[in-house]
C-alpha cells in the first residue's frame, strides 16, 4: 500500500542543508499498522508528510497504492490525497467554524460523492459524538475533537491512514478509543502509519521502527519487534 524507497528530504538551514529524512526505505501493506518511534526532531513528522503526498522528497520514490503521487500535477495530487490518504494530528486541526458534522463532511468536499452524509453520521455515532454533531470544535472536549478528526480522516475510506501522535493530548479512555479505531481500521485491510511516543500505541503495532536523525536505527531485515499481535521481521 505504501512503499518508500531510499527517500530523503533535506531542508535549508542556517548552517547548510539539514537532512530531516535520510535514505529511508519502508513498506506498509494493507492490513498493517506500523508504528514509527523516535525522539523529537528525529524526522518522524517529515516522514509522515512525505508519505502523505504533502512534502516532496528530495531523493527517492514514494508509492501509494502503487502510484507515485509526486509524479502528479498539484491538482491531481490533491485529488489523490483526498481519495487515498487520511490524516490525524496531535493538534486535531479541525476547522474552527464548522460543526462536528460539517468538519467530517469537509473531507468529501474536494471530490464530492453522494451518500456520504449517512457515512458521516455513522462515524459520528461510532465515536459517540451524535449529541455533539452540531457543535463547534471550541465547544468540544479534547477527546471529542480528536474523535471528530478521526471520523473526518476515515470518511472517504482512505487506503492509507497517517497518524501523527494522535494520542499525545488525550486521556487514557480517549486514547484507547483512538487506538482501537486505528487497529480496527488496519484489521479491515487499511494501512496505518502511526508516529507516536505512546507505549500503549506501540503495543498495538504490527511492526515498529525507530528513527533517529532521519534514519532507521536498525537496518531493514534486522528488526525483530514483538508486538501483542504480530512479530515483525523487517521493515
Amino acid at each position: 500500500m505504501l512503499l518508500l524507497n531510499e527517500v530523503s528530504r533535506t531542508f535549508a538551514g542556517p548552517d547548510g542543508d539539514v537532512r530531516a529524512v535520510d535514505g529511508i526505505t519502508l513498506s506498509v501493506d494493507a492490513g498493517e499498522l506500523v508504528v514509527v518511534e523516535g525522539p523529537s526532531g528525529s524526522g518522524k513528522s517529515t516522514l509522515l508528510f512525505v508519505c502523505g503526498a504533502l512534502l516532496k522528497p528530495t531523493q527517492g520514490t514514494v508509492l501509494v497504492t502503487g502510484e507515485d503521487p509526486y509524479a502528479l500535477s498539484p491538482n491531481d495530487r490533491s485529488t489523490f490525497r483526498a481519495r487515498n490518504i487520511g490524516f490525524i494530528f496531535q493538534q486535531f486541526h479541525l476547522v474552527p467554524y464548522l460543526s462536528v458534522l460539517s468538519n467530517v463532511l469537509a473531507a468529501n468536499t474536494p471530490c464530492p460523492q453522494p451518500g456520504y452524509r449517512e457515512r458521516a453520521e455513522e462515524l459520528i455515532r461510532h465515536f459517540h459524538l451524535e449529541h455533539r454533531a452540531n457543535h463547534l470544535p471550541s465547544q468540544l472536549s479534547i477527546g471529542e475533537r480528536q474523535r471528530t478528526a478521526l471520523a473526518r480522516a476515515l470518511l472517504n475510506r482512505p487506503k492509507l491512514l497517517l497518524a501523527d501522535e494522535p494520542t499525545g493530548n488525550l486521556d487514557h479512555d480517549n486514547a484507547v478509543i483512538v487506538l482501537d479505531a486505528l487497529s480496527d481500521y488496519a484489521e479491515n485491510d487499511g494501512a496505518v502509519l502511526l508516529v507516536t511516543h505512546d507505549p500503549s500505541a506501540s503495543e498495538r503495532a504490527h511492526r515498529k521502527v525507530r528513527i533517529r536523525d532521519g534514519r532507521f536505527q536498525q537496518p531493514p531485515g534486522l528488526s525483530e519487534v514483538q508486538t501483542g499481535r504480530r512479530t515483525e521481521t523487517s521493515i
Partner: protein, 434 residues
C-alpha cells in the same frame, strides 16, 4: 444544513460559516467598503446639490437682471418720448436759418418719402412720423397757433412692430397745447371750429414750456387739405430705437440721405443718445458682472471637485489598505485551517475560492450599505433641493449608484494578495507548526 444533506460542504457555505465565526473581521471589512462607497456617493450628492443651488441662484440673478433691463429699456423709451426726437428729415431746399427762426419748415416734400424710407432696409431707425406744420392765424379764435398735421407712425416693415412712441390724432379730433386750451378755456369733449371745420377736443396737454404749448394737432390729411398741400409734408421725424443707440449719428444721417437724396437730415436729441449709451453701458456691465459671477461659481465648483477627488481618493486608498490588512490578518489566523484543508485534498483553486467568496461577500454587503447611505444622503439633499431623484438630472443618478456598487467588490479585492498567499502556502510547513 442543505449542503451537509448532500454529503459535502459547499465552498460558499463554508465561507458563510467562516464569516459568522469571525464576525468582527468581516464587519470591519464591510464597514471599510461601505465608508468608501458612502464617501464617494456622499461627495457626488454634495457636489451636485451645490451645483444645483448655484445654478438656481444664478438663474434667479439672471432673471432679475433681465427684469431690470426690461424696466430700463421702457424707461429709456419714455425718456426719449418726452425729450423729443432724434432726427428730423427736411426737404433739401429748406433754409436752416429759416427753420431755426420759425421752428418749422417752410418748404415741402412728398408724403411718399416716408413710405420709401419705411420700406427701405434702413435698419437703424424704427419709428417714422410724417408731419405738416405751419404757423397760422386761427380765425375762429382770433389768435396765432402752430398747426401740426400728423398721422400715426409709418411702420417699418422690415422690423418687428413696436409700440408707437406718438399716438396719432383720431379723425375729427383736435389736440391742444397748454397755452391754447388755457387761454381759450377749452376742455376735452368740447367742440371747436378751425378753418371752417368742426373738431372735438381730444386731449389737452400739460405745460411743456416749449412751442408745443402754442400748438394744435389735427390729422395730417385734414392739415394737408386746410393748407392746400395735398400729399405734402414738411418734415419726417425719425425716432431712433434705443437698442441701436450705439450706432454713430453720422452713419444714420448717411443711411437716410442714401435713400432720400433731396433731403437733409438734422440731428437733435444727443442727450437721448448719451442716456441710451449710458443705459447700454449699464447693461453690458451687468452682463459682465453676471458672467464674472458664473466664472467665479465655475471656479469654486472646480476647486470643490478637485478637493473632493483628492479626499475620495484618500478614503479609497485607506479603505483598500484597511481591507488588505484585515484580509492579511484573516489569512494569517487561518493558516492551520488552510493546511488541513489542503491535507484532506482541497485544491489551491478551492482555497482561493473560499477566501475570494469572503472578499466578494464583503464587497457586496459593503457596497450595498454604502449605496444605501448614499441614497439616504441623496434623499436628505433632495428635500432641500428640488430635483428628481434617481434620474439623469438628479442628485444621485443610477449610473453613480451602479458605479459605486461595482466599485465595492473591486475594492474588496484589495485582500487578493492575502488570498493568494493563503492558497499557495505549504500545508506541510503549516501542519508541522511552522
Amino acid at each position: 444544513m442543505n449542503d451537509s444533506k448532500r454529503g459535502h460542504m459547499s465552498l460558499l457555505r463554508m465561507a458563510w460559516n467562516e464569516i459568522a465565526y469571525r464576525k468582527v473581521n468581516f464587519v470591519l471589512g464591510v464597514l471599510a467598503v461601505a465608508i468608501a462607497c458612502g464617501t464617494l456617493l456622499g461627495f457626488v450628492v454634495g457636489l451636485r446639490a451645490y451645483d444645483m443651488r448655484s445654478r438656481q441662484a444664478l438663474a434667479r440673478k439672471e432673471q432679475q437682471l433681465k427684469g431690470d433691463l426690461k424696466r430700463l429699456r421702457n424707461e429709456i423709451r419714455k425718456a426719449t418720448l418726452k425729450l423729443s426726437f432724434n432726427l428730423i428729415i427736411l426737404p433739401k431746399d429748406q433754409s436752416m436759418r429759416e427753420w431755426h427762426e420759425k421752428g418749422y419748415g417752410t418748404t415741402c416734400m412728398s408724403e411718399e418719402y416716408v413710405h420709401r424710407l419705411a420700406d427701405s432696409k434702413l435698419l437703424i431707425v424704427r419709428h417714422f412720423l410724417p408731419i405738416l406744420q405751419q404757423k397760422l392765424e386761427w380765425p375762429e379764435m382770433k389768435r396765432t397757433v402752430i398747426l401740426v398735421g400728423c398721422r400715426g407712425e409709418v411702420s417699418n416693415i422690415h422690423k418687428d412692430p413696436r409700440m408707437p412712441l406718438v399716438q396719432p390724432v383720431p379723425d375729427g379730433k383736435i389736440v391742444l397745447g397748454h397755452e391754447v386750451h388755457q387761454s381759450l378755456h377749452l376742455e376735452p369733449g368740447q367742440e371747436v371750429r378751425l378753418l371752417g371745420r368742426n373738431y372735438v377736443v381730444h386731449k389737452c396737454h400739460k405745460e411743456r414750456g416749449s412751442r408745443d404749448d402754442v400748438t394744435v394737432w389735427i390729422p395730417l390729411s385734414d392739415a394737408q387739405e386746410l393748407l392746400d398741400k395735398k400729399d405734402r409734408i414738411n418734415a419726417i421725424l425719425c425716432l431712433q430705437c434705443l437698442c441701436l443707440g450705439n450706432v454713430p449719428m453720422d452713419k444714420m444721417r448717411a443711411e437716410v440721405r442714401k435713400r432720400l437724396p433731396d433731403t437733409q437730415v438734422i440731428e437733435f436729441g444727443t442727450k437721448i443718445l448719451a442716456r441710451a449709451e449710458a443705459r447700454l453701458k449699464v447693461k453690458s456691465e451687468s452682463l459682465a458682472a453676471l458672467d464674472r459671477e458664473q466664472q467665479h461659481q465655475r471656479q469654486l465648483a472646480g476647486e470643490r471637485e478637485t478637493f473632493a477627488a483628492v479626499l475620495v481618493s484618500v478614503v479609497l486608498v485607506m479603505s483598500a489598505t484597511c481591507i488588505g490588512l484585515l484580509s492579511f490578518l484573516n489569512a494569517r489566523s487561518r493558516r492551520p485551517e488552510v493546511g488541513i484543508l489542503r491535507a484532506v485534498g482541497f485544491r489551491m483553486r478551492q482555497i482561493t475560492h473560499l477566501f475570494l467568496s469572503r472578499c466578494i461577500l464583503t464587497g457586496l454587503l459593503g457596497g450595498l450599505l454604502g449605496c444605501l447611505a448614499g441614497i439616504v444622503v441623496g434623499l436628505l439633499f433632495t428635500e432641500s433641493v428640488p430635483a428628481t431623484f434617481l434620474t439623469d438630472t438628479s442628485l444621485l443618478s443610477w449610473q453613480w449608484l451602479l458605479g459605486a456598487f461595482l466599485l465595492a467588490p473591486v475594492l474588496a479585492l484589495a485582500g487578493w494578495p492575502a488570498v493568494v498567499a493563503a492558497s499557495i502556502q505549504d500545508p506541510a510547513h503549516t501542519l508541522r507548526g511552522g
